[in-house]
Point group: C2
Chain length 176, copies 2
């Protein structure tokens, strides 16, 4: 990368964008979509110990960036496979979280494991089917992992529920 | 734009990205987030006649691209203001739709109008509070507008409901 981008307002627009000084290419920056799942087998929940930065060694739910030309659920299922070699089927959308500081929208599905054969994929150091009491609460990777686990807990006995959004007052900002 | 981007697999990645031939800048292409609302006043629904391409002159729900550093709901409320000078408050998430061909994830909220003072913003030719029978079904701008209207209709009497996703078999692809 040449570092030759500058912030300016392109013709016909109303706000600054990243524009290449050399060729005028406008690199639109858009919010990114993260898709993930609370995938369960009975009372146990699939969790993964991260092999990658950021937050290597901390525990997360299977989740990652949605790819081009992929539906949200397909992305969540792909991430479960990549991170934990888990095959999952959807129950319903559990939550949508917004993390404005880093421009992310996160969609977490409640899902069931098709079978209990899970193992660490290349992005995980270890994977586990954990009961509620076995979840390493002090070693979770991100605030939204904690949110999704608690939101799952709040609805696990319900047949139908409205999806959650961020807990009141929580922005997901880890820098504060 | 110089047109000097090529598709290649950057070091450490597993799929092709757009890379600038001149400087190596990787222009990551990500799915885009559209946020919108079915905003109601009693039995009437806010609809907007589009002033912009694509689908100029066709009717839509207030919706648009989520901006950087914006929460999903804040984006939906901003779009209602920009397109219809409408102030809205959230009821709950109505649906998440995926349009894989154009790499969009759309979040539609069920919302209430704070008051009935609406008027066309710069992106609308006309706005209207329409009863179900007044909706111009043959002149809707996009498939997901039709989906969201029908999904609203399916739950309007319910206190709690699970959000919808695409109707079975529908991809939102307007080219087929």
């Amino acid at each position: 990368m040449s570092g030759s981008f500058e912030k300016k307002i392109p013709p016909g627009e109303d706000r600054e964008r990243l524009v290449c000084k050399d060729c005028g290419f406008v690199a639109y920056e858009n919010p990114k979509v993260v898709v993930g799942a609370v995938a369960t087998a009975g009372d146990r929940i699939l969790i993964c110990k991260r092999a990658l930065e950021p937050r290597t060694g901390y525990w997360t739910l299977p989740a990652g960036f949605l790819e081009l030309n992929e539906s949200a659920w397909d992305g969540a299922a792909r991430e479960a496979w990549e991170e934990a070699r888990a095959r999952i089927e959807p129950v319903q959308l559990l939550a949508t979280y917004s993390i404005p500081r880093i421009s992310q929208v996160q969609l977490f599905y409640l899902a069931r494991l098709v079978d209990e054969a899970v193992s660490a994929g290349p992005e995980s150091l270890e994977v586990k089917l954990a009961t509620w009491d076995e979840i390493p609460w002090n070693d979770l990777a991100f605030p939204s992992v904690r949110w999704a686990l608690h939101h799952y807990r709040a609805v696990k006995e319900k047949a139908v529920f409205a999806p959650f959004s961020n807990p009141p007052g929580e922005t997901g900002d880890m820098t504060r």
